[in-house]
């Protein structure tokens, strides 16, 4: 087996807030292999961003983090800010959700890419500028040498996100964390930005962690997918396993909520009824039980552990946290949740 690039063990993140302690991440184990694309999906508030920010050491001050995050033989958790900044940008690059706010309005885009370069490399002024232009070209900024001195407000959202991608790949990091890189963008621009992301990982030979609440986005890129719910991993497996034989009712629900274009031209959304549990305190049983159509008595009293799914797909790495995973995995897709549209929808591919 290959040595993982990043190894997260028993990660637990609590925030102290005025309303009490929010348990945002509840014991996550996850490893990232070299040169893989790992998708992380889940509804809003499931802890996707918090996981990524914990890796970067960028969580807010009110966060209390336990567990371990190993990169090679270095423990990232509890590292001093000074040491962390030698990893940020150099070993791990990060892309954020909102390209409109993630660039500093008072500096030119070129300056901001150059700053990323000079944080870790000693280059002459001219070389640095040339490198910034090269990076901007790579991510698909047309006439990059003309536009390098433009300010962020002169760029569209999609263009700004490309700049952020250029910044993230500037030092050929081993890992790129992309936190909902396309959520804030127009559908038409999304594909282009994902393409730029693909270029970035090809160029720097990086592994990509692609966070999104849209399974459609990971479908094309990810080789492995993690499904998060209420601060836990509830299912993990190859993209094939997750998309074709999900073993957790929540994943079934997510698959059903990929909007697809119908014959009549309207996008239909199958929704999971109910909402995620409160992140304050702990309820007994499976966190998804209150919304689960297959709920049995045991689901309300005992929390299921993340276990290998013995199924027809038979992959060892397919794990799910459901008491009835081996039954769920055999169920046809999109049959579990009531259809919110009146006509039948095909299962997503």
């Amino acid at each position: 087996m290959v040595e993982p690039l990043l190894d997260i063990k028993d990660l637990d993140v609590r925030f102290s807030t005025s309303e009490g302690e929010t348990r945002a991440i509840r014991g996550i184990n996850l490893s990232l292999n070299p040169r893989e694309v790992l998708g992380i999906v889940g509804e809003s508030g499931s802890g996707k961003s918090v996981t990524a920010l914990a890796v970067m050491g960028l969580l807010a001050k009110n966060a209390n983090v336990t567990g371990s995050i190993h990169m090679g033989d270095r423990e990232l958790l509890g590292m001093k800010d000074r040491q962390l900044s030698s990893i940020r940008g150099l070993k791990i690059g990060m892309i954020f959700q909102d390209p409109l706010t993630s660039l500093n309005p008072v500096y030119s885009v070129g300056w901001q890419v150059e700053e990323a370069i000079s944080a870790h490399q000693d280059l002459s002024k001219e070389k640095r500028r040339a490198e910034a232009i090269r990076l901007l070209e790579l991510v698909g900024i047309p006439r990059a040498d003309d536009r390098v001195d433009d300010y962020p407000h002169e760029f569209s959202g999609g263009m700004r996100q490309r700049v952020v991608i250029a910044i993230a790949m500037a030092n050929n990091p081993q890992i790129i964390l992309a936190d909902e890189p396309t959520t804030a963008l127009d559908v038409t621009v999304q594909a282009q930005v994902l393409e730029a992301l693909q270029v970035a990982i090809d160029q720097s030979h990086a592994s990509l962690v692609l966070i999104t609440h849209d399974l459609g986005v990971v479908a094309g890129l990810a080789s492995r997918v993690v499904v998060m719910y209420a601060g836990r991993i509830v299912e993990i497996g190859t993209a094939d396993a997750i998309f074709y034989s999900p073993a957790m009712p929540y994943t079934h629900g997510l698959l059903g909520s990929i909007p697809r274009v119908d014959d009549d031209g309207g996008a239909r959304l199958r929704q999971i009824p109910g909402s995620p549990p409160s992140m304050i305190g702990t309820q007994p049983g499976c966190p998804f039980a209150p919304r689960c159509p297959l709920r049995k008595d045991i689901c309300l009293t005992e929390e299921p552990a993340l276990r290998s799914v013995s199924s027809t797909t038979g992959t060892e790495a397919h794990q799910a946290a459901c008491h009835f995973a081996s039954d769920v995995v055999t169920m046809p897709l999109a049959s579990m949740f009531p259809d919110t549209s009146d006509d039948h929808e095909e299962p997503p591919q």
Binding site: M56, L58, I87, T101, S102, L103, N104, E115, Y151, H153
Partner: protein, 323 residues
């Protein structure tokens, strides 16, 4: 940028006219109307005839709008602010005599304030809720709550009478360079005004930096691997500068107002004392002249702040020149 400055200049001029109109109109509300100064200039027992003659001499019997028009003509066409009723001097003479002293007072405390308050605010923001932050915040609130004259008196009490023996008042005479030949006497007034301004400005600097620190682009900078020092100065400070420049521009009148009060407490003979004396003795031309000057300085300060803001923030620069 040029059209922007031009537009702002025109706006400033209109504001100036409004200010002049108001100060020009106010004397009409004196018990004896605009003839009231006659009783102070000539003495309170003068005959109605003498008052009438004084009124004719000073053109008081023209209609209100004619008088205002004449005043505008006198100020803007002939650059003449008139002659003081009280002192045997032109208003311009009074101003040129006293304004350097006030400017020295205001300017030196403004510079001190910027030099102290901005780093203090940044430090407080980067060490939020530390002991230093709490102490500085508490002190600032107390200073902010104290009226200027009271702080001046307290400073006198502590530094001049009790602890050290700093001169209680600056040397007399109107030479502005006395500040350099005899700096000791200026310490207390300058210090008092500086403390008041710091109390005001460091709060803004702190909150401006705090606001910037939670912005997404600061997180991006950290994610690049910038050190916390680089994040603080390149990103937070630079971005907080915009609001601070605005605040400074808006604070200028406050600073001049503070200077006026400080001047009376420390008997520092500058424009402030002249204004107060002129106002209490109904020396209308002097009051009008000094008000006009302070208004012009204030408007110029604001304009300067806006131009600097354009330099600091490329977005405003573009919007300004785009129209």
């Amino acid at each position: 940028m040029f059209t922007y400055v031009l537009r702002r200049l025109v706006q400033s001029f209109i504001v100036l006219l409004i200010v002049m109109l108001i100060t020009f109109t106010l004397p009409y509300f004196e018990p004896n109307g605009i003839l009231a100064p006659a009783y102070i200039v000539l003495g309170s027992h003068i005959s109605p005839h003498a008052v009438h003659v004084w009124g004719v001499q000073n053109g008081m019997f023209h209609p209100y709008y004619v008088r205002f028009w004449n005043y505008l003509d006198q100020v803007f066409i002939h650059f003449n602010l008139g002659v003081s009723y009280k002192q045997n001097l032109s208003v311009w003479g009074i101003i040129s005599l006293y304004v350097p002293r006030t400017i020295w007072l205001a300017l030196s405390s403004l510079i001190l304030t910027v030099v102290i308050a901005i780093p203090l605010g940044i430090y407080q923001a980067s060490r939020r809720n530390s002991v230093v932050d709490y102490v500085a915040t508490g002190t600032a609130f107390i200073l902010y709550g104290i009226p200027a004259f009271l702080l001046g008196i307290l400073m006198l009490q502590f530094f001049s009478f009790s602890w050290t023996h700093l001169p209680a008042q600056p040397p007399d005479g109107v030479a502005p360079w006395a500040m350099f030949t005899n700096p000791l006497g200026f310490i207390l007034p300058v210090m008092t005004l500086t403390l008041l301004s710091i109390a005001f400005l460091s709060r803004f600097m702190r909150s401006a930096v705090l606001e910037v620190l939670v912005q997404d682009y600061v997180r991006t900078a950290k994610a690049k691997g910038c050190s916390s020092r680089q994040v603080l100065f390149r990103h937070s400070f630079r971005n907080a500068l915009g609001p601070i420049v605005i605040i400074l521009g808006l604070y200028l009148p406050g600073l001049l107002g503070g200077a006026v009060v400080i001047e009376s407490v420390f008997n520092y003979s500058g424009l402030g004392i002249q204004l107060v004396t002129a106002a209490t003795s109904l020396d209308v031309p002097t009051v009008l002249g000094i008000t006009l000057l302070v208004s012009i300085l204030t408007l110029l300060g604001n304009l300067l702040a806006d131009i600097m803001l354009g330099i600091v923030n490329p977005r405003i620069r573009v919007e300004g020149s785009g129209r």
